[in-house]
């Protein structure tokens, strides 16, 4: 079965640079979520999109932005990178149902800011 695909898997950037992370949800899933996970920490919710519209916003810095495109893939754009942005970034997708909605996660992008 197709899973959530994230690219790139690893990314190394320097301070003040920009980065773009991509996420391709499971086919026919209509909701995409972005999470940031630091070492030894829980996944922290950043932002989500339902049918290409922002549906919820968490602890996403103003330096970050995201969007979902017509083919349902999503991109997380990160500007003016800081050392503290080094983390694992996960994308998850789900099919909105009337109840629950299990999120399926990608393998993540490991961002290292030097």
């Amino acid at each position: 079965a197709a899973g959530v695909i994230q690219s790139p898997r690893h990314l190394i950037k320097e301070k003040r640079e920009t980065a773009t992370l991509k996420c391709y949800p499971i086919p026919r899933h209509d909701t995409v979520y972005w999470y940031q996970q630091g070492p030894g920490q829980d996944p922290q919710f950043l932002i989500s999109f339902y049918e290409k519209m922002q549906s919820d916003k968490g602890s996403i810095p103003d330096r970050f932005s995201a969007q979902q495109f017509s083919d349902y893939h999503s991109e997380l754009n990160m500007s003016s990178l800081e050392l503290g942005d080094s983390a694992l970034y996960f994308c998850a997708s789900s099919k909105r149902t009337g109840f629950g909605g299990i999120q399926y996660f990608g393998a993540g992008t490991r961002l290292s800011v030097l």
């Binding site: 959530v4 829980d42 922290q44 919710f45 109840f99 629950g100 996660f105 393998a107």
Partner: protein
């Protein structure tokens, strides 16, 4: 709400024993709960879910118990194996504006001793 755990609680279990991982959720309006397993360097993976109108659900080697009175969730793993070593997260889902908002709890690291 969100939680950040710099030092994950750790549970050490002998191979073959049963494991019990506990989780306290925050919102009594949450109507759906999910357990995820996250292996090192990978994204969280769905294990089992339970709706709020149930108090127990069984899967293969796993059982989830829900106590709404004290807002407590537990994951029981029977005959724990080395492959069960991972961080386990519970997540609560509650309806918010026609959308299910999912919040992760603090993870528990399970170490299986061979």
């Amino acid at each position: 709400g969100e939680s950040v755990g710099l030092h994950l609680p750790t549970l050490s279990v002998q191979e073959g024993d049963n494991s019990i991982i506990n989780c306290a959720y925050s919102n009594s309006a949450s109507d759906y709960f999910i357990w995820y397993k996250q292996e090192s360097g990978k994204g969280p993976q769905f294990i089992i879910d339970i709706r709020s109108n149930m108090d127990k659900r069984q899967g293969q080697r796993v059982t989830v118990l829900l106590n709404k009175t004290v807002k407590h969730l537990s994951l029981q793993i029977a005959a724990t194996q080395p492959g069960d070593s991972a961080v386990y997260f519970c997540a609560e889902s509650l309806p918010e504006g026609g959308y299910q908002k999912v919040t992760f709890g603090t993870g528990t690291k399970l170490q299986v001793i061979p």
